[in-house]
């Protein structure tokens, strides 16, 4: 793909006009395609899930998760698990597109390229939510903590949105490089630090039952991060996939 001749319109891809009708439909179609193929193969979700459970298992031995430490580190353990499992999923979902030439097909489709981004974003987010929906009850049962706190669920929603927003953008960059799978976590983790810090702080605030006024700065920060990074990814995705 790299040796294609330069086309005249590559100078500023944002000015290339594409029909914008059915934008939402295109997004949903891409997301649906991913979910449908995942429903049939189940290779991505099962890998993410098993990996997430193994991470929790390892934390159990690494941190000696007894009752005393559990309260303090639960939110940290959860977010590290989500972040690791998320990277695995993000990598795989983009690698599938690249390996089977599916990405080129998507790029040829007469839709705005940001629709591809949002489609992949939605399906990656769905995978992340499914993993979280299974990990949370398992963790609750294994460690006897009640994680069904509406505040915590809100934080997990906001945090996952931010993480997947940057992750989808960076994974579409990472798959086009020589080192691909190795590169994504290296690119993603330093950029995603603010979302992880805010998510961990807000989660542990909700788990410890702090007043909302104390947690609010972190929740606000998650919202700000989500908005900014979805906007940035929307603006620069064109530059990442152009061939």
């Amino acid at each position: 793909m790299d040796d294609r001749p330069l086309t005249a319109d590559r100078k500023s891809p944002s000015t290339v006009r594409r029909p914008s009708s059915g934008y939402l439909k295109a997004i949903l179609a891409i997301a649906w395609k991913d979910l449908a193929s995942e429903l049939r193969s189940r290779e991505l979700l099962s890998a993410m899930l098993v990996f997430a459970l193994l991470v929790i298992l390892i934390f159990n031995f690494a941190l000696e998760l007894d009752v005393a430490t559990r309260g303090a580190v639960t939110s940290g353990v959860l977010w590290v698990t989500f972040a690791f499992a998320g990277t695995l999923g993000l990598n795989r979902s983009m690698a599938i597109e690249k390996d089977r030439g599916c990405l080129d097909g998507l790029l040829l489709a007469p839709v705005d390229r940001s629709a591809i981004y949002f489609g992949k974003f939605l399906s990656n987010l769905a995978f992340m939510f499914i993993v979280e929906a299974i990990v949370l009850p398992v963790y609750s049962v294994l460690y006897n903590v009640n994680l069904f706190n509406p505040g915590l669920l809100l934080v997990i929603l906001l945090g996952s949105v931010g993480y997947v927003a940057v992750g989808t953008l960076l994974s579409s960059m990472a798959v086009q490089t020589r080192t691909r799978d190795v590169l994504l976590p290296i690119l993603l983790f330093p950029v995603a630090v603010p979302v992880l810090v805010a998510a961990v702080k807000a989660s542990s605030g909700f788990l410890q039952g702090l007043a909302f006024a104390e947690i609010a700065p972190y929740v606000n920060q998650l919202i700000v991060y989500d908005v900014i990074f979805i906007a940035v990814a929307f603006m620069v995705f064109d530059y990442v996939v152009e061939e």
Binding site: V166, L169, M173, R178, P190, P194, E242
Partner: protein
Amino acid sequence: MKPQPLVLKILNIVSALLLAGAFAMAMWYAPVEKVMGAVQKVFYFHVAVAWVGMLGFLAAAVAGIIYLRTRDLKWDIVEVAAVEISLVFFLIAIALGSIWARPAWGTYWTWEPRLTTAAILEMIYIALLLLRQSLEEPEKRARFSAVYTLVGSISVPITFLSIRFSRTIHPVVIGPGGSADTGMMPEMLATMFVSLAVFSVIFVTLFWHRIRLGQMAEKVEQARLKAMQ
């Protein structure tokens, strides 16, 4: 490759002289701080190299945006030059800070907002260099690194804010809560601003050299591609 232009040759000498001057000023002109003693002198250079690191960081972000707008590969050379200088100078700032922090705070390192942000900034730059290394096509390499610099430069201020909610022990020198209660003597302030200016000149000199190096590397790469055909 053209030889170094006269201005650059002059800048080389001026930078070296200025560095020596700033060193002399910090050592002998600025008074010894009463509480911390001689180790406080590290501060003049710590602030100055951190300042240069910030300059490079800004230059890289701006060059990245200009590259995406113009698609002129010379802006990619500017960007990577700024990134490399920033990477080195932030590392020096962290090392100097640690030397000062050991007697002042009793530890070389603490997870304090500015320190953590500086560490993450370093990680972003290292990640950027790794990204560049695993891309061979110059155009794609320039495009991806511009995008990554952009994403990183937006993330870093948020990182700083996210950690700042916890109390900071890093001294605030300039800005609200600054000079009035840090109790710096006028000689100390003068030394600090002189060393900021000196390191800005050094930044320009190094930046120029690094851009020239980038241009030479590009020529070598083109010659190699020509030879392979």
